[in-house]
């Protein structure tokens, strides 16, 4: 392995600036003459707007402009869109309500946007926002996902009865019903997948700037996919034509999905910068983030798992109500359908699966993809069902999984819910995880804990996810409004260094390091001489961005395509310079040589020759700068087993995570240190969901109760243990790097591992996430 090649634990390039405070996040950007924005937000969950009086605010000190939804509409600025069309089981398209960036007639959640106040200073903007007088007719709020479609529940959108966007199904219902009728055992669970607030530590921010000289705009924004933001702002919001809008997403302080989406604030700031002819800067505070970032999860599910007398799974039936919030966010509709229902086979050979999902509107913030997006919900359901089935049938939970795993010789394996798994080593990984967790020693540890008055439990989670989203034709046929390929450009400079432009976007993942490792390894040039550039639509080709653990699998593959083209062109140049036939040129690790001779040229010499083509192949273009667009052949399928061990204090209900072991098969590993870091972070978010985090809206008023770090419990350093992580590499067979993706495995796998451990300790299944001390204590009291 090269010192900083694929597989090396290279130290990150980006750390130097982050450790010295010289990174550039959006709020660090200040443009000459900029004004500051504050948004007027609805204090009510559900209300008609009778009037918006801006007179006082408009004349307040320092105020530049107060703009409302009427101004936006008058300028023909379109509303926010959902880019994935899901079809109802009756054949109708999903119902997508209008979503104006600034509400004109009605507000539908606390935090909904009404007006922007722009002033010379932030303090003046905020002071003046207080002076905007909105007259509301308050309506009854509907915030209960489980009751949102009940008759009599307040209807949010005029033409959407029962608040239902769509009623979707997947799988063979008749076969499933039949198998359940004939089963030797049926395990039934009713579970809630708790609503979460993503909480990247950097709040969202946007600076819009209009340049009258070129009649064009620049938007600096906290985005995971700046090109997609530009496309949507241009094609749907009509803020500016695409070639007149530059979107820059510089250093971004975490995303976890919440910065994929196109939000009201960035739309309005860009548009307003032309109205006021000054750059307009908005930086959200944490309270605004809680209110208006897209939330995650929020499912209520009933499911049955059928087993035959040998313990083989024969059918799975799932009925889910999925909350969409007040509007359909950018990708909201695909999360509880194509990222959820399609994953319900898990790692198992279950032959018949049926899934029904009702997507419902409530008076809450929009819900969309959050780290894992649909796959955590599927995994939580499957892995809780499997563990409970093991307990109910008196089977060892590891053994029941082994009995039902898809065997290694069955790949490619098509599940009854449409996915074609490409590879996997499920039993081998489970065995490794059992070893790592010292599963055999658990009984002794439980006994020892009992002597200390503690209840010790162990829980498994054997998860799978579909990542590297995705083949464009496949997602197109399922309703996606975009293709999901990725773009990359590899540009040799005449002196032999390389600049790599990628459509992927790093907001913590370390692409500047891992992509440099890939290019250094492939083109045989020093790691130090590779610069990775991302996050600016004016630099490099179009790209789809980073989400769904797709950067290495799709973005990295695009870089490999561009590298292949570099090597192909290099061979032509080498053949000419070395006076050999092109077919005799061999390439290896940065050197072009004539087969069977000692004549060779380095990549640096090739680059120089390409830019100084004095002696050059006839008809070949000068320069060494290639672009690749990679559209994957399939999803990738990271999988693994994570095992959690907890101790519960029966007096206080407090849960301590005492041991957490994970064996994750994410395919070929480019940088193990970075992959382990991704797993650590994902697992911590998973533990957060299982025992700490919960988004709560007041049932009567629709107010966000968990609206600050006082009320929304983030995992802190002393809530989590050190992790035991091993990586198992089953290469992905269909992309050039063999990678699968690692960003979401922890958030997907950990919640059921933790809850299986807690319910094992408690001896009752009757508890939902988060297993707070109060809930644990109550569950014990009722057990």
């Amino acid at each position: 392995m090269a010192e900083n090649g694929i597989g090396a634990r290279s130290v990150r390039k980006e750390d130097a600036r982050f450790l010295t405070g010289t990174g550039h996040y959006v709020d660090d950007i200040n443009r000459p003459g900029q004004a500051y924005a504050a948004f007027v937000r609805s204090p009510h969950a559900h209300a008609n707007i009778k009037s918006v009086d801006i007179a006082k605010a408009a004349t307040a000190s320092g105020v530049v402009a107060v703009l409302t939804g009427d101004d936006l509409a008058a300028d023909g600025i379109g509303g926010l869109i959902c880019g994935w069309m899901v079809t109802d089981k009756n054949g109708d398209p999903m119902k997508a309500p209008p979503h104006p960036a600034l509400a004109q007639t009605k507000v539908n959640y606390v935090g909904d946007h009404i007006a922007i106040v722009i002033a010379d200073s932030l303090a003046e903007a905020r002071d003046a926002a207080e002076l905007v007088n909105v007259d509301y007719e308050v309506l009854t709020a509907n915030v209960d996902t489980n009751a949102a479609d009940a008759d009599g529940t307040p209807q949010i959108h005029a033409d959407i009865p029962n608040n239902m966007s769509y009623d979707w199904e997947l799988g063979d219902q008749a076969a499933v019903d039949e198998a359940i009728k004939n089963a030797a055992h049926v395990t039934t669970l009713e579970i809630v997948n708790n609503r979460l607030i993503p909480n990247a530590i950097e709040p969202r921010a946007a600076v819009g700037e209009y340049d009258p000289a070129s009649d064009s705009f620049t938007l600096y924004t906290t985005s995971q996919n700046p090109h997609v933001a530009r496309l949507v702002l241009s094609a749907f919001c009509a803020v500016a034509p695409e070639h007149k809008l530059r979107v820059v997403a510089p250093d971004v302080g975490g995303g976890f999905g919440s910065k994929i989406f196109i939000y009201a604030e960035e739309t309005v700031c860009t548009w307003a910068s032309k109205k006021v002819r000054r750059p307009v800067k908005w930086t959200g505070d944490r309270s605004e983030a809680f209110l208006s970032d897209a939330h995650g999860r929020d499912h209520v599910t009933k499911a049955d798992l059928a087993l035959d007398a040998d313990g083989k799974f024969t059918a799975l039936r799932v009925s889910t109500k999925a909350c969409m919030g007040a509007y359909l966010s950018t990708f909201a509709s695909c999360v509880p359908t194509y990222l959820y229902g399609t994953l319900l086979a898990g790692q198992y050979t279950t032959p018949a699966i049926y899934c029904n999902v009702k997507a419902l509107f409530t008076n809450t913030a929009p819900v969309d993809a959050y780290r894992g997006a649909g796959r955590p919900e599927a995994t939580y359901l499957i892995e809780r069902l499997v563990e409970v089935a093991a307990r109910e049938t008196g089977t060892d939970p590891a053994e029941l999984r082994r009995k039902n795993f898809i065997p290694p010789d069955a790949f490619p394996y098509t599940t009854p819910v449409v996915l074609a798994y490409d590879s996997g080593s499920y039993e081998e990984v489970l065995d490794k995880a059992c070893g790592l967790a010292d599963y055999k020693g658990f009984a002794n540890r439980k006994e020892e804990a009992k002597k200390r008055g503690k209840l010790r439990g162990i829980g498994f989670s054997s998860y799978i996810e579909a990542c590297g989203i995705a083949p464009s034709a496949a997602v197109g046929s399922l309703g996606a409004g975009v293709g999901l390929w990725e773009g990359a450009q590899v540009r040799f400079n005449p002196t032999g260094s390389v600049t790599v432009f990628t459509g992927s976007h790093a907001h913590g993942q370390g692409h500047e390091t891992t992509f440099a490792q890939v290019v250094s390894d492939t083109l045989g040039i020093p790691f130090e001489n590779v610069e990775v550039v991302h996050g600016d639509t004016d630099k490099g080709p179009f790209g789809m961005g980073t989400y769904g653990s797709r950067s290495a699998a799709v973005g990295g593959s695009a870089i490999m395509l561009a590298c292949d083209k570099i090597i192909e062109k290099g061979k032509k140049i080498a053949a000419h310079s070395l006076e050999a036939a092109e077919s005799d040129i061999e390439y290896d690790g940065g050197t072009f040589s004539v087969a069977g001779t000692d004549r060779s040229m380095s990549m640096g010499e090739i680059a120089f020759t390409a830019y100084v083509p004095h002696n050059y192949p006839e008809g070949l273009e000068p320069g060494l700068d290639e672009t690749g667009f990679y559209d994957p052949a399939n999803f990738t399928y990271p999988a693994g087993t994570q095992i959690c061990e907890v101790e519960v204090d029966p007096d206080t209900g407090e849960v301590e995570i005492v041991k957490f072991s994970a064996v994750d098969d994410v395919g070929v590993v480019i940088n193990p240190t970075i992959v382990e870091g991704q797993v650590h972070g994902g697992v911590t978010q998973g533990i957060g969901q299982a025992v700490l985090e919960n988004c709560v809206y007041d049932g009567d008023t629709g107010q966000l109760v968990s609206g600050s770090y006082n009320d929304y419990t983030m995992p802190r350093a002393d809530d989590v243990p050190n992790y035991d992580i091993e990586l198992h590499e089953t290469a992905c067979p269909h992309n050039p790097l063999g990678v699968k993706g690692c960003g979401e495995v922890g958030a997907i796998a950990a919640p059921p591992a933790v809850m299986n451990a807690i319910t094992d300790a408690l001896g009752t299944e009757n508890i939902n996430m988060p297993a707070s001390p109060e809930r644990v204590w109550q569950a014990l009291a009722q057990a």
Binding site: V11, R12, E14, D15, A16, R17, F18, L19, T20, G21, T22, G23, H24, Y25, D27, D28, A123, N199, A200, I201, E202, P203, D251, V252, G253, G254, F256, D285, R286, S287, H507, G508, Q509, G510, T673, I674, E676, G677, H680, G681, G682, V683, T684, Q685, S708, Y709, N710, M714, P715, R716, A717, D718, V720, N722, Y723, G746
Partner: protein, 155 residues
């Protein structure tokens, strides 16, 4: 507007501020020191931690006028002549940062933590870090880095 005079990263500075101006606003907006970040509005995330007269303090909860004459060190003031502080180096070596947003506050808190608890063990570090949130790393490598820096920082 009143004037506040401070030493920031070894340099004497003075600036006109409003009564309500927070130290973090003074640092970021008037002095251009944008390494100190704001991640919340309830003084809980710790992204804004700086040192005031050697103590780790949340600059989002400190009025600029409150600390007239104080000696302030921010993340920008840690490295000397391009050489990272041992804590910065330990964070780099141990991959204790991902998106980098919480990192300045985390490093400033960590230095104070080690100064006050020389050679801390893992449990002490986890407990003492309760004022700093990180959403990316799961703390595993942050704890490792601080324990490791605790060894090299002496004390």
């Amino acid at each position: 507007m009143p004037t506040v005079s401070l030493t920031v990263n070894g340099k004497a500075v003075s600036a006109e501020v409003e009564n309500r101006t927070l130290l973090v606003q003074l640092l970021r907006e008037k002095l251009g020191l944008t390494g100190t970040h704001v991640g919340c509005d309830t003084s809980q995330c710790g992204a804004c931690v700086v040192h005031i007269n050697g103590d780790a303090v949340k600059s989002c909860t400190t009025l600029a006028l409150q600390i007239e004459g104080a000696d302030v060190t921010t993340i920008e003031g840690l490295a000397t002549d391009g050489v990272l502080h041992p804590m910065q180096e330990a964070f780099r070596e141990n991959h204790a940062l991902q998106c980098g947003f919480c990192t300045p506050g985390m490093v400033m808190s960590a230095i104070d933590l080690v100064n006050k608890n020389p050679k801390p063990d893992e449990q002490t570090v986890r407990h003492e870090l309760e004022g700093n949130l990180c959403r990316c790393t799961g703390y595993h490598n942050i704890v490792k880095a601080i324990v490791s820096a605790g060894q090299t920082m002496g004390g």
